[in-house]
Symmetry: C2
Subunit: 204 residues, 2 copies
């Protein structure tokens, strides 16, 4: 049984956590067919709606006080990550929770919180392209600028927003096998085809 | 000013609407720098939390009774889409709202709802790979099985779950220019790198 804990806070970027949420919950659904009881939970400092960075309001499943033990902690980014570094309750919760989880992970500027809380100190990490200098300037960290996600021991960090989907898929493969990760990818039909890679004439 | 309306219902698949939500709200944010007041809103039949397909609870911004006029309607899929086809209130709302919007769009099995409500009748559409036969069997529709998203006039439909991100990016380019769509893509760092495409040796 694998329990995934996704941290929420005001100003968390929506896709940073919903991309991995979709990957982890689909993984749990597919593994349930074989009797496994994996689950993913959304955790916030307080009960009640969290207002995400682009305005979506989400209800957490648990607070810092009542969540189950986590095998994997995921910290999203967003404008909130840049302010929550000054929230000692949240930072301390990350520090303690990461110390007990097998995997500590972040998406986008969630890496700033992992640095503040210590799991990213002295490690190789990825973050959003616009915050690589900011994170590097904090010191005692190596920001990898040309990798979509970075695995350093049991610390796994990704670049901005959509990169969390790739990281989460990698993690499901590391935890439950690459054939399983491929089945998850097939379920969410993750065969990306970004538009406008070429500068072709537009239709009317 | 462009207003994007994303439909919510119990059992809506999380990434189906949050992927496009991220794209549309980032587009609005970037265009706000030039004085535009685009916005995206989440709309449900009733107020109060919607319980999505994988358990995430989201609060809608508006109900069917009090939402602003929409330029674009997006209908997600998920298990809920397969049951909501039997909800006459929701189906009628889609029919009326689509008739007044410039664009009607769906992700994943949201296409079933667009067929039930009529906008997809007689049209070319995409849906989740596991429901292509189901949708085709409803009749008076052409399911395109080998395209990630399908544009037929002002109807735009995508394959499963993650495909909504590509479709939403295409739409932002169609509405506001491809340079703008590329800026949105850069903001959400959508340079996908799905893992396990090769069968390489795994690390310990």
């Amino acid at each position: 049984m694998t329990t995934y804990g996704l941290l929420l806070f005001d100003g968390a970027e929506e896709l940073d956590f919903v991309g991995p949420w979709e990957v982890f919950t689909v993984s749990a659904l597919l593994r349930a067919e074989a009797g496994n009881t994996d689950r993913a939970v959304l955790i916030a400092e307080r009960p009640g709606p969290v207002r995400c960075n682009k305005g979506m309001r989400v209800l957490p499943d648990h607070t810092f006080e009542d969540h189950p033990p986590l095998d994997l902690l995921l910290v999203p980014g967003g404008q909130g990550a840049r302010t929550e570094v000054a929230n000692p309750v949240l930072v301390e919760w990350i520090r303690e929770t990461a110390a007990q989880a097998a995997w500590t992970t972040s998406v986008c500027t969630g890496a700033l919180l992992l640095h503040e809380a210590s799991p990213a100190r002295g490690r190789r990490v990825a973050t959003h392209h616009a915050f690589e200098d900011t994170l590097q300037a904090r010191g005692d960290i190596t920001v990898v600028r040309d990798a979509r996600y970075v695995i350093d021991g049991q610390l796994a960090t990704s670049q901005g927003v959509s990169a969390g989907i790739d990281l989460a898929l990698w993690l499901t493969g590391r935890l439950h096998g690459r054939d399983h990760a491929r089945a998850v990818r097939r379920y969410i039909q993750y065969e990306p085809a970004p538009p406008y890679l070429a500068d072709e004439p537009l239709a009317d």
